[in-house]
């Protein structure tokens, strides 16, 4: 089946991102297609490459980045939610006149239409949040 995933909370602060990651891994193992993972609300905070988690803890951003590379996942960060929270890619950095950007490899910034499209295209949409 074609599955869409929504992640609404940031890493570490809430378990939602861990659950979504584990769910996606299990779905891929079962042969399902992950149409898209959409990061909304504080979920956009999963996409910063500037995190430095403690050495004895997991690196959630890195786990998403690695999973994306392995399975060519479409990890979409909502642009409006990302701007509000200071998650920028190089393009947004230039457009907004900022002097740095922080998006991690494997994530792309796009609009809320990508969430609606996932709802339309997918057989199931599953939301993880708080």
């Amino acid at each position: 089946m074609k599955l869409g995933i929504v992640v609404n909370e940031g890493p570490y602060t809430h378990e939602a991102s861990d659950t979504a990651y584990n769910f996606v891994v299990a779905a891929l193992e079962k042969g399902h297609e992950i149409f898209r993972v959409f990061f909304y609300h504080d979920g956009v905070n999963n996409a910063t490459r500037l995190t430095v988690p403690p050495q004895d803890d997991r690196n959630i951003q890195q786990k998403w980045t690695d999973l994306q590379a392995k399975h060519d996942l479409d990890l979409v960060v909502c642009i409006a939610a990302a701007q509000r929270r200071g998650i920028l890619d190089e393009n947004e950095m230039k457009r907004q006149g900022k002097d740095a950007y922080n998006i991690a490899p494997g994530f792309r910034i796009s609009g809320l239409g990508q969430l609606i499209e996932a709802g339309i295209q997918c057989d199931r949409l599953v939301t993880f949040g708080d």
Binding site: A26, L125, V126
Partner: protein
């Protein structure tokens, strides 16, 4: 048209599980994940509430039960323990999902 309801909140802190049970229809499934699994602790007020619900299937995520020290000895009856793969199967076997955030 069965629904999979996903509840990730402690029933002792928030009203999500109660609201979910107020809106679940016969034949629906409720999966307890994250802090939602605290509803499974035997003898707790929430577990007693679960036991009084008819016509709904309950599941709970093993990873979240284990993380919280809720072993078999502490589990209330009538809740199926599933792993992430079992969670995926519930999603695909129901017609749609609703997350009670």
């Amino acid at each position: 048209m069965a629904m999979l309801h996903i509840v990730n909140k402690s029933p002792y802190e928030k009203g999500a599980l109660e609201s979910c049970l107020n809106h679940a229809l016969e034949g629906d499934t409720v999966i307890l994940i994250e802090d939602g699994v605290y509803a499974c602790v035997k003898g707790g007020r929430a577990a007693n509430a679960l036991a009084s619900v008819k016509g709904i299937r309950f599941a709970a995520l093993s990873a979240d039960l284990k993380a919280r020290g809720i072993g078999e000895d502490k589990m209330t009856e009538g809740v199926d323990v599933v792993d992430y793969g079992g969670f995926v199967d519930l999603v695909t076997s129901c017609d749609k999902t609703e997350s009670w955030l």
